[in-house]
Symmetry: C2
Subunit: 229 residues, 2 copies
C-alpha cells in the first residue's frame, strides 16, 4: 500500500469556491468486453511508461475540461479501438488514496460491449500495445485494475441473468446457437439448449429472419433483435 504524495491542502483559491481541496485527478477506465472463440475477452493495453511499465492495464485516461464522464469514456474507447458505436455503462468509481503512486487519482470505471466480429485493435498513443485476453487467463494488471475487472465481470453476469443485455455483443444477424454460446461464455457454464431457446424466444425480443446460415451442416435460422434496447 503506497502512501499518496503529500499535497499542500491549499489549492489556488477560486474566488467562488471557498473550500480548499487537495488536487485530485479524475480519469475514466473502461473494461471493454467482447466474445471471440467462445470466450469472454477484455481489451488490455501494455503500459509504455512508469509506473507499472510493462504490465497490462485497462484502457483509460483523463477527463478533459468540458466533456462529460461518458464522453470521456467514449473518447478513450475511440482512441483505443477505433470505434465508439458500442454499449457503454458506468460501473463504479474507485478512488482509494494510493491506488496511483503518482498522486491522488479518482477513476470512474465503465464497461463496454463490442460486437463479436468487429473487435478492432489500435494501439493508443500511450500504450505500447493492446490485446484481447480471456477473462480466465489474465496477465498481471497495473494499479487496482484487477479489482475493477472482477467487478465488471460480475456486473455483466448479473445483468445477463435478469435482462436482455449481452445482445450488444453479437453481429446484426446471428443464430440461436451463437447467442447461447455467448451466454455460456459470459456465465462460464453450459446451458441447456431447449431451456435456453424457450427462454430467449419467450422474451419476444428476437425477430426470426427468412434467412438461413449455411454452416456446413444443417443450416441454422438467423435472427436479429427487434429494436434497439
Amino acid at each position: 500500500m503506497a502512501k499518496p504524495n503529500k499535497y499542500d491542502s491549499e489549492v489556488e483559491t477560486s474566488a467562488q469556491f471557498p473550500v480548499e481541496q487537495a488536487p485530485i485527478r479524475v480519469t475514466v477506465d473502461i473494461v471493454v468486453f467482447t466474445v471471440h472463440d467462445q470466450a469472454l475477452r477484455v481489451l488490455l493495453v501494455e503500459r509504455g511508461i512508469e509506473p507499472f511499465l510493462g504490465l497490462f492495464a485497462l484502457p483509460g485516461g483523463f477527463v478533459l475540461a468540458g466533456e462529460t464522464l461518458e464522453q470521456a469514456a467514449f473518447r478513450e474507447l475511440r482512441e483505443e479501438t477505433g470505434t465508439a458505436e458500442v454499449y457503454l455503462e458506468q460501473l463504479y468509481t474507485f478512488g482509494d488514496p494510493g491506488r496511483d503512486p503518482r498522486g491522488r487519482v479518482v477513476t470512474v470505471a465503465y464497461y463496454a460491449l463490442v460486437p463479436s466480429g468487429r473487435s478492432p485493435l489500435l494501439a493508443g498513443t500511450d500504450a505500447a500495445s493492446a490485446a484481447w485476453f480471456t477473462v480466465a487467463e489474465l496477465p498481471k494488471l497495473a494499479f487496482d485494475h484487477a479489482g475493477i475487472l472482477d467487478y465488471a465481470v460480475n456486473r455483466l453476469r448479473g445483468k445477463l441473468e435478469y435482462s436482455n443485455v449481452g445482445y450488444e455483443l453479437l453481429p446484426e444477424k446471428f443464430t440461436l446457437t451463437a447467442l447461447q454460446v455467448l451466454h455460456e461464455a459470459i456465465l462460464g457454464r453450459k446451458l441447456d439448449k431447449r431451456n435456453f431457446r424457450r427462454k430467449v424466444l419467450g422474451m419476444g425480443l428476437l425477430k426470426p429472419l427468412k434467412e438461413k446460415l449455411a454452416t456446413g451442416r444443417k443450416p441454422a435460422e438467423l435472427y436479429s433483435f427487434r429494436d434497439q434496447r
Copy 2:
C-alpha cells in the same frame, strides 16, 4: 444550464504526471434514507451560501487528501447526522460539466440507510438547516440533486425486490408488521400480509424472539435479524 468556468487547460505540472488536466474537484453526496411515520424520508440541508442559496441539497462535501471516497462519505454523514453507524453504498458518479456553476465538480453519490427511531439531526457547518422530507413531497433541489435522489430511490426499490436489504432501516427488535410497513413505504404500494410474511419468513433471515410487543391491542411477536448481512 450554466456553462462551467473556462479553465486554463494547463495545470501546475506535476513532475510525475505528464498529462495536463483542468482542475476537477471531487465531492461525495449522500442520499440519507430513513423511514418514519410510514413514509420513506430523505435528509436534505438548506443551502446557506450561493449558488442555490435557500434551496435544499443533499448532504455532501469535498473529498479530502488521504481519505477514501467511502471515508469521505462517512465523515460527511457524521458531520450532518452525528452518526456513522449506518449502511452505506456507492450509487453512481455524476460529472457533467455545468452541474456546478462555480466550476467542474465530479460527485460520487452514495446512499445511506439510517434505522428508524434514531434519525438524528445536526445542522452542519455549511448548512443553514437540515430536515427530513418524504420522497413524495420534495422541495426544489439544488444542482442536479433531484436526479441523484431519483436514482437512489429506484436503486433502493430494486434492491428490496430481490434481496434482504432495507433491514438496515429497522431497530434491533421489530414486528413483522413494522417490516411490512417499511417495505410498503419504500415501494410505495400495499403488500398482502400473508404473502409478505410467507416470503420474509421463508428467507430464513429472521429470528423470532421470545418477546412480545405490547402495542395496545393483541401483542405482536418481536423478531431480529440472524446475522449482520
